[in-house]
Subunit: 333 residues, 4 copies
Amino acid sequence: MRFFSDNAAPAHPKVIEAIAAANRLDTAYDGDAWSRRLDGAFSDLFGTEVRALWVTTGTAANCLSLAALCPSYRAILCHCDAHIESDEAGAPGFFSGGAKLILLDGAGAKIEPATVSEACDRIRKDVHQVQPAAISITNATEYGLVYRAAEVAALGELARKRGLALQMDGARLANALASTGENIADVTWRAGVDALSFGFVKNGGMNAECVILFRTELADEIVVRRKRAGHLLSKGRYLAAQILALLEDDLWLDNARAANTAAQMLATAAPHRLVYPAEANEVFLKVTPDEAAHLRGQGFDFYDWAAGEIRLVTSWDQKGEPLERLAAAIAAL
Amino acid sequence: MRFFSDNAAPAHPKVIEAIAAANRLDTAYDGDAWSRRLDGAFSDLFGTEVRALWVTTGTAANCLSLAALCPSYRAILCHCDAHIESDEAGAPGFFSGGAKLILLDGAGAKIEPATVSEACDRIRKDVHQVQPAAISITNATEYGLVYRAAEVAALGELARKRGLALQMDGARLANALASTGENIADVTWRAGVDALSFGFVKNGGMNAECVILFRTELADEIVVRRKRAGHLLSKGRYLAAQILALLEDDLWLDNARAANTAAQMLATAAPHRLVYPAEANEVFLKVTPDEAAHLRGQGFDFYDWAAGEIRLVTSWDQKGEPLERLAAAIAAL
Amino acid sequence: MRFFSDNAAPAHPKVIEAIAAANRLDTAYDGDAWSRRLDGAFSDLFGTEVRALWVTTGTAANCLSLAALCPSYRAILCHCDAHIESDEAGAPGFFSGGAKLILLDGAGAKIEPATVSEACDRIRKDVHQVQPAAISITNATEYGLVYRAAEVAALGELARKRGLALQMDGARLANALASTGENIADVTWRAGVDALSFGFVKNGGMNAECVILFRTELADEIVVRRKRAGHLLSKGRYLAAQILALLEDDLWLDNARAANTAAQMLATAAPHRLVYPAEANEVFLKVTPDEAAHLRGQGFDFYDWAAGEIRLVTSWDQKGEPLERLAAAIAAL
Amino acid sequence: MRFFSDNAAPAHPKVIEAIAAANRLDTAYDGDAWSRRLDGAFSDLFGTEVRALWVTTGTAANCLSLAALCPSYRAILCHCDAHIESDEAGAPGFFSGGAKLILLDGAGAKIEPATVSEACDRIRKDVHQVQPAAISITNATEYGLVYRAAEVAALGELARKRGLALQMDGARLANALASTGENIADVTWRAGVDALSFGFVKNGGMNAECVILFRTELADEIVVRRKRAGHLLSKGRYLAAQILALLEDDLWLDNARAANTAAQMLATAAPHRLVYPAEANEVFLKVTPDEAAHLRGQGFDFYDWAAGEIRLVTSWDQKGEPLERLAAAIAAL
């Protein structure tokens, strides 16, 4: 059983069904019936008017937004372990035309307002130093921690005060919300988020992510940037259909709950081994190389992380017997 | 019945089946079993070792290649009606970091060696003028004309002599080959093509295109650029599976033949109206606005093109009665 | 005697004097006493509040402005023989992050409102085609023609109507004004020009050009871009001093008049040979290769231009006997 | 008396003389007699064949080189206080098209091979993380420390082993060499440096710096990039003349010695206050705000640095009485 990444899981059967159902002629690009329903569906979900643009990867979702929020000659503040810094091959620099990432520390890949403020204050207000234009946060974080609405709001307020935009990488936003039970509006636009990458691929989707723009006036620029970056697919209906299938009856939230439950089962097997609180669907455990080998010997696959740590990521489809066996194996170490 | 674009057609049922069959856990990105078969499958097809990288759009396929073939400070020679110039929102400039397109004339969107030579000769060999690095051609062209192997080879030879790379936008390469019956190797690498965008989306695919690199050493750079541009999908198997399904038993060629046959049916209905010879699956007809309205009145949709011209694009799935009705309607104008 | 380019002429003695006079310690970059006088000096000259930023080349002046006026994903309309297209090594693409130049025809490198309108109208208003953001004109043009105030105003009005910015490459603006005697305000901001590259290097300067921003709010962005492009010199006073010396007592206008007078002397020697009216300080003549060789044999240097044409450019310091000799030699051909 | 920066000092009288002497017509750009002497002059100085290209700023010198040494999709390793990171407005990102700076720690802004190795080892060798392409060091550093030849050679060897280029920001290379007396070849190309920004502006020049390419094959690309970035001045002779004047009879070394001597005078006045060893022409002192105010009250100007620290930078022209007064004032604190 593999716990490498929720990226590797299959798509939910309803997603496959939706794709098959969308398999008929319609207008190309995003002019089809499915794509045209996205703005409305997400505006309903968020309780405010939004623009919703499908893309195929989280990198595209993040960087198209960031390019519109941060000019080429300014900077984005983010955690030093943020996905945009560590795992997107420099995409923010590419999409923005050279904008800089200013890297911040913070436990569990969360950043705090004080850290942002200090970083901003260290920058001389002159033309020699790159001035910040945006903050980017990941929720849930790369270490499986969750920002509560109040935490996002504190960053949102700081952003407003300092004239910065606030972007959220929500590759695992579903898991974050499933964890806290908080309202999706409270964690996003009511907290000051300007643009959100709403992740579906790690949560039962096949290859559809969604850029949600709470500042709807950004859409005109971003649809152009999407095309220019080769991200305007010819047959958008197959992306939109996936997203709509996952939105229907809150399937996205059910999937996230299932993944979180699986993570909880692993986390509670050995709470003293947890590197971080397991708040979403990622479990980081302190295990020796021998212990890791022992687990692998029983057929469980996962990544080594920092020295003496392993990472287990659970998916929407992981449950039942094999999971129980892994939990037991961890407990028995 | 709609003849706007082959972009709008549904995916072939075998593509949908292949996607469903690929719907199980595998390694993320392009490490899965399907993606790992691509190099071999295309090397067999082309009869030479190639690297084959899936992407989701022709724009990405073209521009990732061009960015590797043309430094930011040089230029790409292409027809003034080439897709990269007219319909990709400036993507070559974005992917390359500012490379220039030098626009050439040529009947039916084909370019000839002499035109390329003249354009090159007009450029002073100094630092003030942008020096060319690559030629890009589209086969079949934006007007449905087909480059024969000998024509490509003439451009390939010229490219080699002048130190230029040769890239082919093969969004409709299948239609070109179905038209001439020529060998795929003869029209590409044996003719000097360095990189090919092999189109599947217009030909029965859902959202998978393929970059074919005959200069395999380019792959290392392009896989990095693909990731950096947000084009490395998390679950690559759903793209690779589409491509493999279309390669199997030459389904791609069957689809192209079907589309070409449909185009022929329309073209032969009124040969005197043809703006260009209908060599692939695009038919440009001279019709008056009244005639166009008349056709639309009978339920046929298509684009107006230049003044007094309409464009009809046929797809792999268009045949039988409605097509016959359109042909008759055209003949009856 | 050399007539290759006004780029090659020496600096005016007063420029050298001003540099020597500025040779003492002052604040670095543009914080010195000379640089701080520029905004005021040019605001006086133009009769409106402007921001004035020194740079060292016309390419930098043009492209810093254009990058602020045209986002990376849009286009600049210019003549196909404009300096930004033909002689700046693709700098507009570099500074803007990939913006496109849309090339227009027009006699003598001038563009007309109708040509701009037609080019704009040909662009579909969708995300597939690059939308224009700015017009760039050169005054005097690359062929020595001069835009009158009314001509610029017609373009300015068109620009306003279509939501485009208007930038003027004024590498030889001095020669244009010396030619027509028109008011500098009428030819620039009153005619709708947003940003001007005011040339000094071809007109008695050593290495100082000036970006003039009539939309002063652009300055904040452009000063950052200037630094980021390596164009914020450490000791700006040596640039500002040159400019101030040339502004003093209208030395810039005197220099331009001298160069124009020299050009007139050559043009009137053989009016039937003129390729373009010699309105500023460039004279294009129809001469056979033998005739060109004959002139060169008498010690005159110049560039061959198109087949059967030569270009003679005069400078602020060319007058007297050698010039008379050349005029006579031309007349005697 | 001002100790803000060596950037603010006047040019050496011989530089002014050289400019005046160059004030006659010659070929434009870098085709003049002075510019054509640079390759030879620097090849003699370095004892190996080099290409030498004038530019007007250190930012341009650094970033033109780095853009040729590091593709847009890779990274440059440098100290977190390096000028390219802290004081060039993100220029490396601009010139390279989005390359990343990987920031390293190190006492006094020097970086050590072990630090570079560790940073490289932390990067996964996959497409998700940005791979390094070059190391950039500053000599003398931003804190006035000097790399000895053996230290550079250790970095050079590491660079070679790891397939990285090595670039040196030598804005104060003259001061470094004046400090150690080491051979200029030993500290640069013999130690593995591929490209050097040789600073003249801080050392008696007016506005000329020089890119020195030990890998001469890089020149063809960099001359194009120089033009494209607006850094090919029309009248290059005025830059080349400055550089030649400073090279003559080792004036550059005399100037650097004078500045270093001035710094020594200040450093020895209060050795216990030194934040860093004063190895070149920068002196960082621990002084309280009251003490700083006291010094300023006596007419001395300088920057506050970190809390409780001030920075004093000496220039080639600072000597004699006022300097002795400052030294005495520091000693008397």
